[in-house]
Symmetry: C2
Amino acid sequence: MRRSIVNDPDDLVAEALEGLVLTHPTLLELNAEHRYVTRKQKARDKVGLVSGGGAGHEPLHSGFVGTGMLDVAVSGAVFASPTALQVLAATKAADAGRGVVQIVKNYTGDVLNFRIAGEISGDDAIDTEIVLVDDDLASDTGEDDGPGRRGTAATVIVEKICGAAAEEGRSLKEVAEIGRRVAARSRSLSLALAAGTHPGDDEPQFTLEADEVEFGVGIHGERAKERVPFTSADDLTEQLVDPLVKELELDRGDDVLAIVNGLGSAYPLELSVVARALHHRLADGGIHLSRSLVGSYVTSLDMHGVSLTLMPLDDETSRLWDALVRTPALTW
Amino acid sequence: MRRSIVNDPDDLVAEALEGLVLTHPTLLELNAEHRYVTRKQKARDKVGLVSGGGAGHEPLHSGFVGTGMLDVAVSGAVFASPTALQVLAATKAADAGRGVVQIVKNYTGDVLNFRIAGEISGDDAIDTEIVLVDDDLASDTGEDDGPGRRGTAATVIVEKICGAAAEEGRSLKEVAEIGRRVAARSRSLSLALAAGTHPGDDEPQFTLEADEVEFGVGIHGERAKERVPFTSADDLTEQLVDPLVKELELDRGDDVLAIVNGLGSAYPLELSVVARALHHRLADGGIHLSRSLVGSYVTSLDMHGVSLTLMPLDDETSRLWDALVRTPALTW
């Protein structure tokens, strides 16, 4: 049994957005009608950045609105895409006259609604470019005609690096181009020891035996193709690291960025142990982990699990990653 | 059943500290022998600040080492005080020639070991002052001869404000004095919908019925004196807010700082809903909530619950709270 600290579950997203904006009154502003959050001080003369998707993944996306990252984040209900009308309103709010990059996780509803909104906003002379994030290696079927890989924690990297590029004054095409390059070079893998529970429900989305780990789980509780034996943190981490290293063809001397991401109820001691195992595993292969985030950045309600995201760095992406950022969930 | 992402539970704290320092290589340094974390660039010509206690409450304390906050954080095993020898080594490491303030949560073992360490470090001509944090209203018995109130999330406020005061160059006595003033004016209350589970155990520290909430729970799974009915987030929040407002004698026109703190597996939507309810409840009483932290800062493994901390602000504490800080868990 997992209960939730909520009022009416139907009001959860609206109330949580209000709470976030009340917590950051100098940084954020709420559009309650269309459920999007914008910067309080609208940026001028730069490419706009909008992202969004279903709720339940916080701090993604609303926690990444601010200087150096998103201009606008729009939220659907828990695990449900925002409507095309919401996305349209959010896209218009992100425009400062130089066009808008829409950062979209690869799920059918999100892609459809952002695409429709992009087309309609063209009628108002707003140029848009979609950057699709599809980093989840577990959903890579190798087929060309399927839905493709799901978008997960690499979204944070794309939002950060596009944010810095836009802040530098780059053009719409340039910001979209670096976003696509980052997305193409980022891969993630996730595992869960326990599923999350929908607000208002008593039971989790699925249950596992005591000796099972769901390997390759999605951030909406999508089951994986396989379950692996429950084992030590070091062993589990290696099972996440090794396929990513292989897929990205990482080699001795490469410098990488990692996100060790808690999926909801993994606590800091657990995440730090995974971070340590990751460092050692990469070092064994001569790969240098120069930058990492360790925390719960892209969650799935209270799912107990961890995802690992890797991206090889070069001079340009390192510089853009290091650039100043000031948002509720990421500041340096 | 709650399993943990760990290796040998006996190695958990050492491995997690190593993972934290590997994640922040330019900011932190590890002393593996005595299990403390220091700033990589040791501060000069300022009062030193050391804190610590049992593990399982991360990011407290190691996540608050850095510019504008702690110089050193020392960790015991999960829910167990560091030894006097560990604290002694950590206190010496915090000294830069102007004495050391020890920030200690009010638990018997912690108080004893910090006090012994303080006395022994006097032999090395290191002046120390203890600032005791005892904010947990639920453990206030009104008796003079008991153990007193437990120390919980107000520790973050004390560490931040003492950190800023030390960074300004204030004397040992002055830094201790403002720390004591902040501690004396901070109160917290916690509730839990589910207990945490010790790493390596399968079962939580206690279980509740579906209609029960543990009201006044401690951060080590200490049971409360009472259970209250499970109800809405707004109702639960008011049950936390009202006794704090009364105890602190807050009144119309007062300006306060709050921490809405997740105890482990409360997720961001839940915490934002509590933050919203807090804002509205205080506003109803004419109290202005000008500054707040909303997140999981002082945890109890994966306990599902929330604590609320309030402290009235004045010009001096507002300025010290707002001063620059750069640590793994708090940066602005």
